[in-house]
Amino acid sequence: MNGDEALQKYLEAIESGEQSAGEAFAAAAAAAPEVAEALRLANLLKASDLPQMRPAASAALEARLRRALAQQGARQPAGRVWALPAWAQWLLRPGPVARLALAAVVLVVLMAGAGTRRAVASSLPGTTLYSVKLALEDLQLSLTPAAGRSAVHTRLAETRTGELAALADRPEPASTLLTATAGAALRQADTALEYLEEAPAEAQAGLLGRLVVAASHQQAVLQAVRQRVPAEAQADIDQALEAAEARQAAAAARLEDKRRPGQKENVEAEPTATPEPPAEVTAASEIAAPEHPANAVTAGPPGQTKVPPGQTKVPPGQTLAPPGQTRLPPGRPLKGTSTHVPPGQTRVPPGQTRVPPGQTRVPPGQATKAARTPAAPGGGRP
């Protein structure tokens, strides 16, 4: 037995309780003094005072990580709060076979009874049916031409906002679910803004007005729920509030731009001029449409007048911010905020490919072997 093996044998004898440290050291000293010295040092190390991160720093980092995770949920594409089930992911892959299978699934759902459709439409984040709802939304988006995407994303932003309000109505709302849903709503609003220029000119102001109202509604919900969540969750809610304010400012700034002289006629146009998705998609969208109060997509905050369909005309000098609320958050400029991207958020312009979560990018530390420094832990893995 060489020294390496002998040392390990004595270490294991101590770890298993077969020998005390003293007995193992005495046995090693009799057999191989060099091994005994290594064993003594190993025991010295095991008994040493371990350096620790300061508790305050550790707690602060823990809170920061929770916020980062909530924000990250807000950055994932397609308004997804929960991952789609494997079957839905497979169906949504590009390719003729998956398309046919997806069409069959949608057909089954569409042929299902009104009760099923209503249950899917009114499902909330955290439920099984919610995955179906998201899958159908993804389907609708995949079949919507670029010119109609801003309208669909605007409607989805309103849907997420309605879900947020429904979640907030629960007796004990989960702050993580609230912030994730608020993030999903903001993400949809971001995408709606990204595709805005693709929409018909006469519909753009109407879409912007709806986005301003949705962001304002979110703030009202978040502000109301902020008092009811534990103190440690209030920072997350504050962050979601800040993001909603930023989106409202961005949409309002774009709306102001549309209302500049020479562009006023756009503001007065009907939003329904936005191209509708293909017929089968419209049918699918009905499933995710607002049958549940949670999906009252064009409703403003409680107590606030709903913007009637087709009435998106904005009086001169006003935006569509709800009554009683500041049109723009204090200190936020009207101009130049349309390109504002809050920390941690990423915009993907229309026509560019969003990196799908999980597949094409290599996470930090999971670099290819060739790119690794030889001394890095883990050898060739993971």
Partner: protein
Amino acid sequence: MQLTPEQALVQRAQAGEADALTELYRQHSPAIYRYCLFRVRDPAAAEDLASEVFLRAVEGLPRYVDRGAPLAAWLFRIAHDRVVDFHRRAANRPAEELSDHLPDHQPGTEAQALGRLEAGRLTALLAQLTDEQQLVVQLRFLEGYSLEEAARLMGKTTGAIKALQHRALRQLARQLAKMA
């Protein structure tokens, strides 16, 4: 296939569950902090690096793929990258900015007399080892990983770990003798 508790936690964290992330953080942050500290020898800098490690881990979590190695292997790899970056940045800073952070090397503390190493001295001692030797000592004798776990985490055979830990301890013994 049955998921290990850690795999289940990772999946829950990937689904956005903050409590699962917190649990993973609490399990791994002490070792990651010490990994950084033993290499930069500055507690404040080590805290900053540990923060960077976990924030990057959260960022990469949706794309993290379990390939059979423990999560710690991934975290240590991120930590390694952060430490390398720290030293690269430090190399571009004036020397006097760094000198304040070096711990003293004075031997003969009361703790040592009692048969244990106090934290500052342990940090200074480990700094004398190679990166791999530091890691094997940390995993095996400070963090309590078994031989097999350390082998999986470092991507080596158990035989290689046996040899590495023995060499590391011999090197430490020489350093201690020299410092005494």
